[in-house]
Symmetry: C2
Subunit: 491 residues, 2 copies
């Protein structure tokens, strides 16, 4: 058998690249073998010669050779040198320019097709500039008692470090499920056993998990319009037909739902604090909704976001607590009470569906984390959670008043705030004729985040308005943001 | 208007219940109003009288009345007493026994239908008894340098507490994406920029995210058989037709794939360490696979699990590094190198698909966590990660030898271990004729976890065998487990 000597002249190393020399060399030689520039049977120059030629250490060359040998491309023979042993199979079409072109074409068409398919999720926009005022959904982080949090974390780790590092229960850490059940019963009138509580990665995953468990391709979902678009893209992602249902001061009006277009499998509502308008669903509407669900077999997804923050009167009980037919999936989150990067929330699901939710969850991401859930459980048991909510409630109420004051100062006649007294954001109605998206864009240029109300609507139009968060910002930030907002509204 | 006096005789409180009296009372009265046992316009007895009758404090009764008043069921009139104000709407069908029966029927049929639909995921079994030997996938937790981990955590919090509590980038914490890109380039020959790295909740979510982005209902997926069933249930959950492809010592044999049954959209493989058999895919098979993908437009999901633990030779480079057509999605996890409850893993996706993965991720659970990812990034940058892998590699190699010794001692003739020298588990072939599920069941009774090989197969049958984990157990645990396993194998 002949062993032609190979020159390796095609190998070019880039001394300026951050990529280590050994890896560059390994990759370039592999590439040359796979594209038949280095043919099987050929003998390589010695590592010493190559090291001199490429101005690298001999160890670098030997490292690359070792790797290529381990992977079956090269073989060293005692006293005879190193040989290319891998012969590129005949089928390997990418060796030829025609093969490469054909492949590039397939790849391009594939990506175009994928992009086409995924167009339906274009509605999913990411909120900009994380902490800029007046972004909604941002809690007051400088007031989070992080030192207490860390004490709780230390305490749970002291008790059970080993057991908190391993695999947990798919539905969540039991003491947290128990603490959530107690908390929801006491504060939200939710009727549940700890076994019905499912710990998940924030309310977004809660909604996703619900859709994944209850919804089948082609089924119908009714949603509040305006409503939470993060839920809509989930339902549409599962191939559901999402039908908007109008909202007024009493919440979603189920009597105006498109009943003739098919039975709803899911009905998504935010009865405590309609998103984004902030109204509370009336009792009669609640009974109508529950009645429809029980009679039709629909499930209700009750998004109870921000219900902890009500500044006048008592919070209304949950829809879940009024349900007698096991039709409600209740969704809540810790992200806005504790801190957003926790990414922990919970569902309360009907008892007969717990195992189905468990199956879905194990498909989506297996087991949940353990250390943070254990920390929250202790944080709740020791009363820190309830105390923090009480403190934030009065702080946020103050900040809402500051927002009202600032609007009165800078924006009288330009913007009218909703009267609602709850949550972490409110709606400001624009008095002029400028479309809200335009005001939002101008505000953003002035460093103020204020999403347009039209972003949350689908079919039913609203007067132009902005969604304004106040919870996460100090007095001076609120004042300054409203001043800049005033500059963004054309007279 | 008449105001009949109501007796409230139907209200029964359970003094022994753990449910607070006030909530019981609130709930019972609400129930009585909603079911028309207490009619609108009726006047309630005084709170003093009721407190005496029920032997509770007057505050308890007033608390319940306040809540019912806030929710619109009751109204107090100065000097005249408290009245039921909520009149149950005529439509409310659950008031009548017939309405309730009809509703119960709808609910029962709905749950039966759901259960029927979800039958397809029955294959998803949860592994039992988390830490019992010889469960596969359990790393050595007592050797995890948790103190160092906590130091890194403190350091990152000191630097950026505020910014680590808020919302993060959907694709993950940038310094971690950068650290992963460097790590994978240096150790796995992966070719990627940090922007292609997607941080996710463990490899299970990585696979789920991939399916959610690339797969459409009704498309075909090819999977190794035997293979990772946690991936199969994901693909089937998205409505894919999953077709088994046989595996031999060279890995998945793409030439035996069911090409005539339709083009594959996804091909799921574990080339470094076939799951569960442990073989490494040969170079020729790798090129064939890449060639098929480039020519057909299929995507390859490369599950590179356990590739860090190879006890002889050098680990083979990834398939991803050999790909020239952007067809490979690379999946890895931190759960088994650091600790399982972290629930963090990563994908490397083709550059053209990053935005589509971002859309999917934002639907599934919004933003990822920040504190743990920041801690991992520092843990990697400071070299603790690489050092821990090196230590575990030699520890696991020792433990694999201990397993071989114990099998030689107690199971000679009954079980033959695979020769493979990598990973955290190995395969033991049963020499007798007893089906492996039966041996697994007997072992479980003896306190030993040893999943049957048949659990991982779909169409192609294998001789009976067990999957045996050795990484997470001490010498005495391994010895003892093998002894008990020997007792579980009928002679």
């Amino acid at each position: 058998m002949q062993h032609p000597s190979l020159t390796l002249n095609m190998i070019q190393l880039d001394l300026a690249s951050p990529e280590p020399m050994q890896f560059q060399l390994y990759r370039a030689m592999r590439e040359a073998i796979v594209t038949k520039q280095l043919a099987a049977g050929g003998r390589l120059p010695s590592t010493r010669e190559l090291a001199q030629r490429w101005k690298v250490s001999r160890n670098t060359v030997m490292g690359a050779f070792d790797q290529l040998t381990a992977e079956g491309y090269l073989k060293g023979k005692q006293g005879a040198g190193t040989f290319v042993t891998f012969s590129v199979p005949d089928f390997y079409s990418r060796v030829t320019p025609a093969g490469r072109a054909a492949c590039a074409d397939v790849v391009a068409r594939r990506e175009a097709a994928l992009r086409q398919r995924r167009m339906k999720y274009q509605g999913c926009t990411h909120e900009p500039s994380p902490l800029a005022p007046l972004r909604p959904t941002v809690p007051s982080l400088e007031n989070f008692p992080f030192a207490l949090w860390e004490q709780c974390r230390k305490a749970v780790l002291r008790q059970g470090e080993r057991s908190l590092l391993t695999y947990g229960d798919t539905l969540g850490y039991w003491p947290l499920r128990r603490a959530v059940a107690t908390y929801l019963r006491d504060t939200r009138g939710v009727r549940c056993e700890p076994a019905q509580v499912v710990i998940c990665c924030g309310s977004q995953q809660g909604i996703y998990l619900t859709a994944s468990t209850l919804l089948e391709h082609g089924e119908t979902v009714w949603m509040e319009d305006p409503g939470y678009q993060g839920a809509r893209i989930v339902y549409e992602g599962f191939g559901a037909k999402v039908k908007p249902v109008p909202v007024d001061r009493e919440g979603m009006d189920i009597q105006r739902a498109p009943v003739a277009e098919g039975v709803a499998r899911l009905i998504h509502v935010s009865p405590s604090h309609q998103f984004p308008l902030g109204h509370t669903m009336s009792l009669e509407r609640r009974l109508r909704l529950l009645d429809y669900a029980a009679a039709s077999g629909a499930y209700i997804v009750e998004d109870d976001y921000d219900s902890e923050f009500r500044y006048e009167g008592r919070p209304l009980s949950s829809l879940q607590g009024l349900d007698q037919s096991g039709s409600v999936v209740y969704v809540g989150t810790f992200s806005k009470i504790l801190f957003p990067s926790l990414r922990l929330g919970y569902l309360v699901v009907p008892p007969g569906l717990v195992d189905l939710f468990e199956q879905s969850r194990s498909r989506i991401d297996g087991n949940p984390t353990l250390i943070d859930p254990a920390t929250i459980a202790l944080f709740m048991e020791e009363g820190h959670f309830a105390r923090h909510i009480r403190k934030m409630r009065s702080l946020y109420q103050e900040r809402l008043e500051l927002l009202h004051d600032a609007v009165a100062r800078y924006l009288r006649g330009g913007l009218e705030l909703e009267k609602q007294q709850c949550g972490m954001h409110t709606v400001g109605w624009l008095k002029g004729s400028t479309p809200d998206q335009e005001v939002t864009a101008r505000a953003q240029k002035n460093g103020v985040v204020a999403p347009p109300l039209s972003q949350y609507t689908r079919r039913f139009t609203l007067p132009p308005g902005l969604v304004l968060g106040f919870a996460g910002f100090r007095a001076d930030e609120i004042d300054n943001a409203v001043k800049r907002l005033a500059d963004s509204i054309p007279l």
